[in-house]
């Protein structure tokens, strides 16, 4: 199963040098591996392990996650607007499933 939809919120436009806040939500159970189901069977761990962000090809932010992060992970961070370009957001879970969102930031002088 591929990872479900994500929601990335950021301004479409920023002035050069401006610090832009980016918020990302990803639908994922972040199953801890500690729970048991109704039949008493252990539910295997299933978590997003890595979140990375590149801006115009350069990696600008990353996060390593564990089962200590809440379900449907929310991540907020910042970047300084340099030049117009594409931001690529990638989530990778412990089953090797990947999800990618692309957003364009237009930088105005």
């Amino acid at each position: 199963m591929a990872l479900a939809a994500a929601r990335v919120s950021m301004p479409a436009e920023a002035r050069a040098g401006e610090v832009v806040e980016i918020k990302a939500l990803m639908r994922h159970p972040m199953e801890t591996g500690y729970q048991v189901d109704a039949m008493g069977e252990s539910i295997p761990r299933h978590i997003i392990e890595r979140f990375t962000v590149s801006y115009d090809g350069e990696r600008i932010f990353g996060m390593d996650l564990t089962q200590g992060v809440a379900a449907n992970p929310f991540i907020a961070f910042t970047t300084r607007a340099t030049r117009s370009g594409e931001l690529v957001f990638t989530w990778e879970d412990d089953r090797g499933e990947l999800s990618e969102v692309r957003k364009t930031l237009t930088v105005v002088p």
Binding site: A4, K23, L25, R27, A71
Partner: protein, 258 residues
Amino acid sequence: MTARRRRLSSCMLSFLIALAGSVEAEPLASGSTFLSEAVRAQQADEAANPGMLWVDEGAELWAQTVAEPGQSCAACHGEASDTMRGVATRYPAVDAVSGALLNLEGRINTCRREHQALPPLAYESDELLSLTAFVAYQSRGLAMQVETTGAAAPFHAAGRAFFHRRQGQLNLSCAHCHVRHAGRRMRGDIISHGLGNGYPIYRLEWQTLGSLHRRLRLCSASVRAVQFASGGPEYLALELYLAGRARDVAIETPAIRR
């Protein structure tokens, strides 16, 4: 304090609380009033509210065309931000054709059957939660204004009776918690008025979106009473009564609750 005096003052307290319950301020305070500032902020920020993930999925389903007869929700209803605005404030409502009481989930499934020749979506399925959340979200910030008279009157009366009936091994009615003790603490919680103005909700304990009827099943279980079927007549009537209590309270879907 002597036992007798304690009993007396406890009786007085009960009386005062009962009195307060009978003259509840209108509109009643939304459940979000009893949340921490951090969770209220998370609910208000659509970039941080995880319930929006389901609203997004609902938007996709809304636009999705089914093979036969080639209809999408949007094909009939157009832009939801326009045509669905305010709809959730009027639900549950009596269906003029069948005379049945329908909540949003029921209306969506009726639409599927009548106009899309599709089987109903299962209660609590992601698809039904998503579509319901998407439709209710179009009324975010609008006041609940459900019809409780006319054809709705018998359903409303059944809901009221349910709300005030003692149930379960704990022998409690809904009103015991949500009228008499609303605003007071129970364990780490503050008891709400039980309005249902933010459903489907993202409940932190569920770690997912869930329906009002899922929450009601939990209420029933918590007082060790019979749990009724989600979408069944008991909880539908109760949902109407709760919506009547929530008159003039703003819709918060997708709300976040504990």
